[in-house]
Point group: C2
């Protein structure tokens, strides 16, 4: 997964995924402008394997996370991957996916659990935890968080993501002590909703 090289940054031309807009509006009589993005809504699934008492997560290289650690002056030429290790872009996340189909959120979540982690779960086993916003400043997309318990018998393939879509995902299992340790780290390469999901899990599915 870490074998990332020949990294170049270009100004965005057109995109099916990232649609930058300006909003112009009047608030309390003052004309304002705000720059923002239109992106897809998403689902995320906290998976707990009850056979071995491990939380099932995914690791992948995330270009946006990698880029956030590189000064803009160094975008102009090919990125020096010796100076800026691609390891800095590898995140630990919940199994997740965008909502770009006319299916229920539960059905989309079920497909992501299958594609990314290889577990075949019934739609009815997906428990909604909460809906929140992935972002509020630039993106305002909604993420729906699910909880799902699985067993070893439900894993029918090793997962790894949709190869046709270029996904390259490592499935990672964390024990309860490892989850607790992660939540006490000073810095993580994970989003805020991931930290909330793990906290929710420890509080609601224990005692551990």
């Amino acid at each position: 997964m870490n074998n990332v090289k020949e990294v170049e940054i270009r100004k965005l031309t057109t995109s099916n995924f990232v649609k930058p807009y300006e909003m112009h509006y009047t608030q309390n009589g003052v004309r304002k402008r705000w720059d923002l993005l239109r992106i897809h809504h998403s689902v995320a699934v906290l998976i707990y394997n009850i056979s071995r008492k491990v939380v099932v997560l995914v690791k992948q290289f995330r270009p946006a996370v990698y880029l956030a650690g590189i000064p803009e002056d160094d975008f102009k030429t090919e990125i020096d991957t010796k100076k800026y290790s691609p390891e800095a872009g590898i995140t630990l996340e919940l199994c997740a996916g965008i909502v770009d189909k006319l299916k229920s959120l539960e059905e989309i979540a079920k497909e992501e659990v299958f594609e990314e982690c290889g577990y075949n779960v019934p739609v009815s086993s997906l428990q909604r935890i909460i809906q929140y916003r992935s972002g509020i400043g630039i993106t305002g997309d909604q993420q729906t968080l699910f909880y799902c318990e699985v067993t070893d018998e439900m894993q029918v393939n090793p997962g790894g993501g949709n190869i046709e879509e270029g996904e390259l995902i490592d499935v990672v299992e964390l024990s309860i002590p490892e989850v607790k340790k992660l939540l006490s780290e000073p810095s993580v390469l994970s989003p805020g909703g991931f930290l909330f999901a793990l906290s929710w899990f420890l509080q609601h599915k224990g005692p551990f």
Copy 2:
């Protein structure tokens, strides 16, 4: 705050805040492209007023959150604010701000607590909780989360944000039971990091 009208959406031209790029890279021998954004890092502060045992939060109109609830077909003309109420864009958040100055994260956090909520806090009172990523798909910016206790005596103005920057912010106080209730709602207009911060607070600063 809710007096939002004359809302128009235009394609983004140039922006000081939102810089869309394409990253092109080779991973395991396969050439890939990812569309992403370069945005500022940020700080967020969970404020607890120990005089009255309330968590101090902020409410504001967030264009990106509002836009996320409107179908793209309805962007073409002025947005119908009767059909799409601007209330749908009003978020409940932690006091927060972007890192765009050569100051320590603690100093920037202190300034945001003063500007948005009116409390004058010593830099030394800001406790780092954790650093995480606000986003992982499109933005990869880092947010540093702080905890800070305040008293009524430390509030020297009503807050409300930086008027020169066009900020219009309502300070909101939640009691402990209200925080617990919020965390059990099915849907919130808040980001994942906000939910984590409240969970962390209940777990680490109680028992409540």
